[in-house]
Structures are given as C-alpha cells and as structure tokens.
C-alpha cells in the first residue's frame, strides 16, 4: 500500500487532464480565497498601518542588510521550526501537521502531474505526509486545542474555527482509508472513500475566506514584523528582555542585585508549571 501510487489506478476512471485541472482549480481557489480574505478582514491594511506606527516609535533605523538578516532568522526559526509556540506539545503537533501537509500536497501534485513513481518513493512520501497530518491533527484536536468545554461546547460540536483543522483531518484520513481499501482490492468502498477524500479536500481549499487557511501566509509576515520591532527598539511598547547578570542592567535597577544577587538563579516555570485547565 505504502509504495503504490493511488492515483495511477484511478486514471482508468478519471482522465489525467481532469485530475490536473482539479489541482489547478484548487490552487486558484486558495489564491482567490487568500486575496478576498485579506480584503475582507483588511488584515494587510492593519498590518501596514501598524508597521507605520511602530516605525514612528522606533528608537533606531533598521537598514536593508539587517532586515535581510531578520528575514533569514524568521524563516529559520518561526517558519521552519514553529518557534512561536511556547508549549512544546503544541509546537511538535504543529510541525507534524505543517510538514505533513506540505509533503502531502507536493507529492499529490507530483503524482498527478506524472512524476516517476516506479521507485515507490513519492507514494511512500504521500502516505507518510498523510500520516503525519493525521497524527499531528488528531493530537491537536483531542488533547491540545483550546479548552472548548469551558465555553459549554462538547468536543464533537463543530464551530467555524474548526473548519480548517477538521477538513485537514478529514482529507488525510479519507485519503489513507481510500488508499488502503484500493490496495486491498475492496471495490465499491474504495470509491466511497475517494468521494469523501475529494469532498473534504475541496472543502479545505475552497473555504479559505472563512477558515484559518490563510494563516500560513500572514503568520510569517507578522513574525518578521515582530523581529523588526524588536530590532528598532519600538518593541510594540513592550519592555526589553533584560539580562539580569549584565552590570549595566544591575546599575540601572539596583533592586535586582540587592534582592537577587549578582547572578540570579533560574526560578523555574512559575505559572507555566501547569497547563491552564482550572476553569
């Protein structure tokens, strides 16, 4: 199952042109949805207005070279390793989902656009991507996501906020089941799951305007902007991260060495010792 291209058998029923057309249509829907989302929520307007405000509050100017450095750091940290998540399980689950999705989408396009799958590597990656997506997604859904019970919502009651993750999960799960049934030669049922797979992926890519799909485009921009505000000293009006052992900091704030010593020790996690589940 893992090394079989599930789309090759399908080409007997559906022509390659239709499959390729479907992929292009989904791509167009994502672009269109993202642009409409940006226009509707005015997120780009807010982003640039906010950037202007921060620039006004800046204590120093960040030049082009430094900005490129910050961009590289943003890609290496926030984009590639999802470092914005401070809760480790959530970060791991996000990495699984993110890389699973990328691998799944890229290998799907490769298989449909006629990449050589005889070695079995691409189909293997397709299955691994779907599995990563399912593991990360279900972990998030059942154990990590926002405590919906606090607002009187049962775990199975779906809201608009769930559109993205549920359609992702449905797409990967139905895709895997379809591939399994197809390799097992279960005719009829495999087509039923193929229809569910297509329905869920169409839902995922066509609801960008209402779901949080577009976060994959604007989050990196926001993370870059956050780094720029740190570099130019405006820091969104937040105080800086002080190094308590720095003599300059100790001279500016004499309470620190007086009560905590010259080299303050690590105080532990504080409020983060427990996850917030008391309400």
């Amino acid at each position: 199952m893992m090394t079989t291209n599930p789309f090759s058998e399908l080409s007997a029923l559906i022509s390659a042109d239709i499959m390729q057309g479907y992929i292009i249509l989904m791509f167009i829907l994502v672009v269109l949805g993202t642009v409409l989302d940006m226009m509707h929520k005015k997120s780009a307007t807010y982003f640039f207005e906010n950037a202007k405000k921060q620039k006004k509050a800046a204590k120093r100017t960040v030049d082009g070279g430094e900005k490129i450095g910050l961009l590289v750091k943003t890609v290496a940290s926030e984009v590639i390793t999802s470092s914005e998540f401070c809760y480790t399980p959530r970060r791991i689950s996000h990495l699984l989902t993110m890389y699973g999705f990328i691998i799944f989408v890229v290998t799907t396009a490769m298989m449909i656009f006629g990449a050589d799958t005889s070695s079995g590597t691409v189909p293997m990656l397709w299955h691994i991507g779907a599995l990563m997506l399912a593991v990360g997604g279900y972990w998030f859904w059942f154990f990590i996501r926002v405590d919906v019970a606090a607002e009187g919502i049962k775990w199975y009651q779906l809201r608009r906020a769930d559109m993205f993750v549920v359609s992702l999960l449905a797409m990967s799960t139905f895709g895997l089941i379809w591939s399994y049934l197809q390799s097992g030669g279960v005719s009829g049922w495999d087509m039923a799951f193929f229809v569910l797979f297509i329905a869920s992926s169409t839902f995922l890519f066509s609801t960008v305007l209402w779901s949080k799909f577009a976060h994959m485009f604007f989050k990196p921009a926001a993370a870059f902007q956050k780094r720029v505000t740190k570099a130019d000293g405006s820091r969104e009006n937040l105080p800086p991260d002080y190094d308590l052992s720095d003599p300059a900091v100790q001279a500016k704030f004499p309470d620190i060495p007086e009560y905590m010593g010259k080299n303050p020790s690590y105080m532990g996690l504080g409020i983060k010792r427990e996850t917030p589940r008391h309400y």
């Binding site: 401070c86 009006n237 020790s265 105080m267 532990g268 504080g270 409020i271």
Partner: protein, 160 residues
C-alpha cells in the same frame, strides 16, 4: 481601562481565562481566541496581561483621559523571577522602563509540605496562634523582626 486582546497574537492557550478574578476573559466560540466579555466589569488588575505568554493582552485607556495614546505594557518573566514595565506618557516623550524582582526563591520551593508535618496537638488547636505562627513571625527568638533589628533602613520615595 478594560483589557482587550490582540486577536492576531492570541493562540487561545487559556491562561487569561484561568487567572481572571472577575471571570470575564473567555474563549470566543467562533475564532477560539480569548476576549474580554464584559469590559465594564474589568478592574484592570493586569493579571491576564501578566499571564499572557504571547503578550497579546493590553489595557485600553478611555479616550476622555488618554486621548493621545499612552501605553502601559508589562512583561512578567517567571523564569528570571522579574517583572518589567514600560510606561509611555501620552505626550510621547516620557518613556520609562522599570524592572523589579517578583521572587527571590524558585517557584514552588516555599510551599509548606503539610502532608509531612506532624498533626497539631489539642493544645495547639486551642491556642490563638495560627499554623507556624511563632516560628514564621519569629517571636520565638527574641522579638518581632523589624527593619531596624535586621540593620535595614526604609528609603524615602520610589527608588528604582
């Protein structure tokens, strides 16, 4: 001056919901992000602002007395045991930074392990003293400890 949430920065972790003494920080059912359900009832205790790991909560000054946009933002770093404030006056010129310790001992190390303590005797139960009272206010070795008895002096004014 009620709190509000920058929705793009909130990740819905629930720390603010957990800590709010007025129980007015809730999770939005549509976006699954935190929001202040009743700004009129917020008494600006800043608990949620300090608890937010994403610095996504801020306190809004009403337009009648903060028309030019002041800012009071705080960052509590439990791992370092300090709290830092940055206060920008509404004239846009005065920009103050403050830093103070919030603990000098690692979190959780000073919680009394009551399970390991011997149960109080009947005499202790009938006494007016509370648990560990003579020991903790240190009547037992002389007198109440004061700044003077410890060789300390109260300094005048704010001395950050």
């Amino acid at each position: 001056m009620p709190t509000f949430v920058y929705m793009t920065r909130c990740d819905g972790c629930g720390h603010c919901v957990d800590i709010c003494p007025s129980d007015i920080m809730h999770i939005d059912k549509v976006t699954r992000r935190a929001y202040n359900i009743e700004p009129n009832m917020c008494w600006e205790c800043y608990s949620c602002v300090k608890a937010c790991p994403m610095n996504a909560i801020d306190v809004r000054g009403y337009a009648d007395f903060a028309p030019l946009g002041h800012s009071v933002r705080v960052k509590r770093d439990e791992e370092k045991g300090v709290i830092a404030w940055r206060i920008k006056f509404r004239n846009g010129e005065k920009d103050m930074e403050l830093l103070a310790p919030i603990t000098t001992k690692p979190w959780g190390t000073c919680i009394p392990k009551l399970a390991n303590v011997q149960a109080p005797t009947q005499e202790m139960r009938n006494s007016q003293l509370l648990y560990n009272e003579p020991k903790y206010i240190r009547f037992d070795d002389g007198d109440i400890h004061t700044l003077e008895s410890n060789g300390l002096k109260m300094k005048a004014g704010v001395y950050y």
